[in-house]
């Protein structure tokens, strides 16, 4: 095991020959960041390396950090380790980290989104570069939705459902409050809905990220912030996108009678929908579903797979039965992401 290109340390996942960490959860000297969600990119590291498209969102979230960026596909050499970053399809700037050293290739995926249903480009995440399979000997994969019960439907069907809900509310003269994580989910919603149905407003926590997306050339509609709207009649046909913490808060009073919905992969389950006490749950995830995980792992050609955050035990057993050499890393990811199991949901609303 001493030849492994990535090992687990108390600070995070560590590359011994390169002497750097990937998404460390404690402050370190050199941190390679897969993406800008809070659980993968923490404050306090001395130096950061991330994919070039992540710069805007990373700086929006972490402020003035010592950040070096690398375009997707380009490589740098560090203590004999060749490092390159490849699109993960999760959020703007999300990357898989490819490490090559002494003839071995490892890839750490961070979080990734790839639809399992088909290789149709319409099923890609339309707000960032799509997941790119990278050949390797060992693949470190997430497992957030690593159970066969998680299969995402075609995105066209899903957005048609969201549009129909919005339209019905608009026709009844009431606002549609759609809750989703401020970074990543909100932008997918804004990009995916039918803008002809009515006006759109966002929560103040979402706009700075929208700006970073627009600056990166992603087509996110220009929308007012809900608190800046004086004329309440605006909301009667409006879609309002807000982070989950807004649910039931005094901030929602301005909408009067309104429908509410939550967009998350966890909405797949009836129990999760009912626990949320919302009108509707839309199954929209930035993570791979079960078939997607299988497809992504197969496409790497890896013989060895290391599973992180999610259903590690299930995935390890399944992969072992499929003939992979599989094991798990215990990480501290999945703490600040909206797509956590509901039971640990208290931290969901932290941001």
């Amino acid at each position: 095991m001493t030849d492994d290109l990535v090992v687990q340390r108390k600070e995070g996942l560590y590359c011994p020959p390169g002497d750097f960490y990937i998404d460390p959860w404690r402050p370190v000297d050199r941190a390679v960041i897969t993406h800008a969600h809070g659980d993968h990119s923490r404050r306090g590291n001395a130096r950061y390396l991330a994919a070039a498209p992540a710069e805007g969102v990373l700086r929006t979230r972490l402020g003035d950090i010592d950040l070096q960026t690398l375009p997707y596909g380009e490589s740098v050499d560090h203590f004999g380790v060749r490092l390159s970053l490849h699109p993960a399809g999760h959020v703007l700037g999300s990357a898989q980290v490819r490490l090559e050293h002494a003839g071995r290739v490892w890839v750490a995926s961070g979080d990734y989104y790839v639809a399992g249903s088909s290789a149709d480009p319409r099923e890609d995440n339309q707000t960032c570069a799509p997941f790119e399979p990278v050949r390797c000997h060992c693949f470190i994969t997430e497992s957030t939705f690593g159970l066969p019960i998680y299969r995402w439907r075609p995105q066209a069907e899903l957005f048609a459902e969201i549009d129909a809900w919005w339209r019905a509310n608009a026709e009844a003269g009431r606002a549609s409050l759609l809750l989703g994580y401020a970074f990543g989910k909100a932008q997918r919603i804004l990009k995916g809905v039918d803008r002809s149905i009515g006006p759109i407003a966002v929560h103040g926590a979402i706009e700075p990220l929208n700006r970073a997306y627009r600056a990166a050339g992603i087509d996110i509609p220009e929308t007012p912030i809900a608190t800046e709207i004086g004329d309440k009649s605006f909301f009667r046909r409006a879609l309002v996108v807000a982070p989950p913490s807004a649910q039931g808060s005094t901030w929602t009073r301005r909408f009067g009678d309104h429908g509410d919905a939550f967009a998350s992969g966890w909405m797949q389950l009836r129990g999760a929908r009912r626990r949320r006490s919302i009108d509707r749950g839309f199954v929209l995830s930035d993570h791979a579903d079960w078939p997607g995980l299988q497809r992504a792992i197969a496409a790497t050609g890896a013989e060895r797979v290391i599973v992180t955050h999610g259903y590690e035990a299930v995935m390890v057993r399944w992969l072992t039965e499929q003939g992979f050499e599989a094991s798990a890393f215990a990480t501290e990811y999945g703490q600040d992401d909206d797509e956590l199991p509901e039971a640990t949901g208290a931290v969901v609303d932290a941001q």
Partner: protein
């Protein structure tokens, strides 16, 4: 099936009554009568017996999904609902079905019963291939006899009545027995529910909708102000039996349970007694096990209900009697609008006349609910405190001028037309949380089902209790003589969602071991557990079983070493059963 699945989705996601009624009205207007007949049956709580064992469904689902048992089980643990797990693991459908609900039920589901398991699995797999996830979920629920959705029978009746412009009470009456096991929903039967706004001749054995009682949440000091004088009320004991309506018409007897099941066959003694009543008589009352002239604990009645065949031995071990407390029909006339005190007087006349025909039997097995008397609320309150020794649950208060209403109605005015349950406070024990399991449905993946323990003896002090807890945390097997915690009850209700979230977090932080879905925890929390009764049980490690346990509150204020002991449970046993065991049912 598509329409019904759409209705289910709308009912399932809505919490607003009006939205649900709208969805129901739209469905009834759009659905074929034959399909609507079955929809009413399921929505009103009708359940055909399970037609295919879960094991067959499980195996067929695993095969179709290409996964092993262990992986299916991991999915089930995450979903917390079997039918839903099956619906999700299956690959997408290959074709779509347009069959209506009635055809699905009559031609496809009910015909599965009794087939060889291999044939059942093959047919169900082909059905799954025609349905989307939501429809599969419904199909699985119907196959398993587990269909449930958040609408009350009252809401279904309201939607039917509003849709057809018929009085809701008439619909309610016509719907009695609709979900009975022996009844088959048909288009004709469905049409009869809303056929005309005129009361037609009822099916001869039809009961009336039960009038349900409310829990009285009132401090004793407020009784006089809010309820007026006790003389305005009929006060009776509240028996712990099976609420039942007894219908005698056309020389036949029907016994209906509160769940509107026809249960005549379960209680031949009562049927026999009721034959002496004149035709056109309907009584409301309670079936209890009657032994040596007393009401026996509910546990005995429960054992009898559990028996498939009523052998002579069962009848001898647990003979039942009927305590009548109201008359709803007399000489073929509906008397429910007459005031309570008049109906009571009539009841005494009715049973007086029948009694003459019955002779001694009336004395032993068929009687009028006795009146509890007191000059003021204080004396009734002290009478109520004797409930446990008398083997009853407390008192019932019925206003003397009240009519016999329908169902359960919210009432702000305490004295108006409501029956009140003035139950005794539950027995309580302070106990320690030792195991937790994730719940089902809405509580899937949240630890909401708990096992509680008491000390085997009183800890000498906090230090001794801490040492015992440390041993548990180190997973050392306990020495039989040593201080230890003995599990005695499970409970999963009584906390708010917020409190469940707190406990869930503690469970996750203090987990010692995982046994499948169950976690053992390092004991850190004390709960006040309430329950209705306590009995000896050879099946429980503690030797004690409690009835209807639920959490009353989290005792953050109570250190673990002050939790209760087995000796405290023994004291409650003695309190409930006294030295003699059973107690007289009738107040002296």
């Amino acid at each position: 099936m598509k329409l019904f699945a759409q209705l289910f989705a709308e009912l399932d996601r809505s919490t607003a009554t009006l939205a649900k009624i709208d969805a129901l009205k739209r469905y009834f207007a759009a659905a074929a009568p034959r399909d609507a007949a079955w929809a009413v049956y399921f929505l009103a709580g009708g359940k055909p017996r399970q037609v295919v064992p879960n094991a067959v469904l499980w195996a067929a689902a695993c095969r179709r999904a290409g996964i092993d048992d262990w992986l299916f089980d991991a999915c089930y643990q995450a979903v917390g609902d079997f039918a839903e797990t099956v619906a999700h693991v299956l690959p997408p459908p290959v074709r779509r079905s347009d069959l209506g609900l009635a055809e699905w039920v009559e031609e496809r589901l009910l015909t599965l019963r009794g087939l060889a398991p291999a044939e059942q699995a093959a047919r169900i797999t082909s059905y799954w291939n025609e349905l989307d996830t939501a429809e599969r979920f419904l199909l699985n629920k119907l196959i398993g006899g587990e269909f449930r959705v958040g609408v009350s029978k009252l809401l279904v009746q309201r939607a039917l009545a509003e849709g057809a412009g018929v009085d809701g009470k008439l619909v309610a009456q016509r719907m009695m027995g609709y979900t009975d096991k022996h009844a088959v929903p048909t288009a004709e039967r469905f049409a009869l529910l809303t056929a005309s706004s005129e009361p037609g001749p009822l099916d001869v054995g039809q009961p009336y909708p039960f009038f349900l009682a409310h829990q009285l949440e009132l401090a004793e000091s407020e009784f006089a102000a809010k309820l007026g004088a006790p003389s305005q009320w009929l006060v009776e004991w509240k028996y712990d039996g099976i609420r039942a309506q007894l219908v005698k018409r056309s020389r036949e007897v029907w016994i209906w349970s509160r769940g509107e099941d026809l249960v005549s066959e379960r209680f031949p003694e009562v049927v026999e007694l009721a034959r002496a009543l004149p035709d056109g008589t309907v009584l409301d009352g309670e079936i209890v096990v009657w032994k040596n002239g007393r009401v026996a604990p509910f546990a005995l009645l429960q054992q009898r209900i559990g028996r498939k065949v009523l052998t002579k031995k069962v009848l001898a071990d647990a003979p039942v009697g009927y305590i009548a407390y109201d008359v709803l029909e007399w000489q073929g006339v509906d008397v429910r609008e007459r005031p309570q005190h008049e109906r009571r007087a009539l009841l005494e006349t009715v049973l007086g006349e029948a009694g003459a025909a019955l002779g001694d039997d009336l004395e032993t097995a068929f009687r009028i609910s006795p009146i509890a008397r007191g000059d003021d609320w204080q004396s009734l309150a002290s009478l109520r405190r004797e409930s446990r020794e008398r083997g009853v649950e407390g008192l019932m208060l019925k206003h003397r001028d009240a009519r016999y209403g329908t169902g359960r109605r919210k009432q702000d005015d305490l004295a108006a037309g409501t029956w009140w349950k003035w139950k005794i406070d539950p027995l309580t024990v302070d106990c320690v949380l030792v195991y937790a399991q994730a719940g089902h449905g809405r509580r899937a993946s949240v630890y909401t089902d708990y096992t509680f323990a008491v000390w085997n003896r009183r800890p000498r002090d906090a230090a001794e209790a801490d040492a015992a807890l440390d041993a548990i945390a180190r997973r050392e097997p306990a020495d039989a003589q040593a201080l230890q915690l003995v599990p005695f009850a499970k409970a999963y209700s009584g906390l708010t969602d917020e409190e469940f979230r707190v406990v869930d977090k503690v469970v996750r932080q203090t987990t010692l071991e995982k046994f499948g879905p169950v976690r053992s925890v390092r004991p850190t929390m004390v709960f006040e557990l309430g329950f209705e009764g306590i009995n000896r049980s050879a099946r429980h490690r503690s030797g004690i079983a409690v009835r209807f346990p639920r959490m009353l509150r989290i005792r953050d204020d109570k250190p673990l070493h002050e939790a209760d002991t087995l000796a405290d449970l023994e004291a409650l046993l003695a309190l409930q059963h006294g030295s003699k065991g059973a107690v007289p049912a009738t107040p002296p």
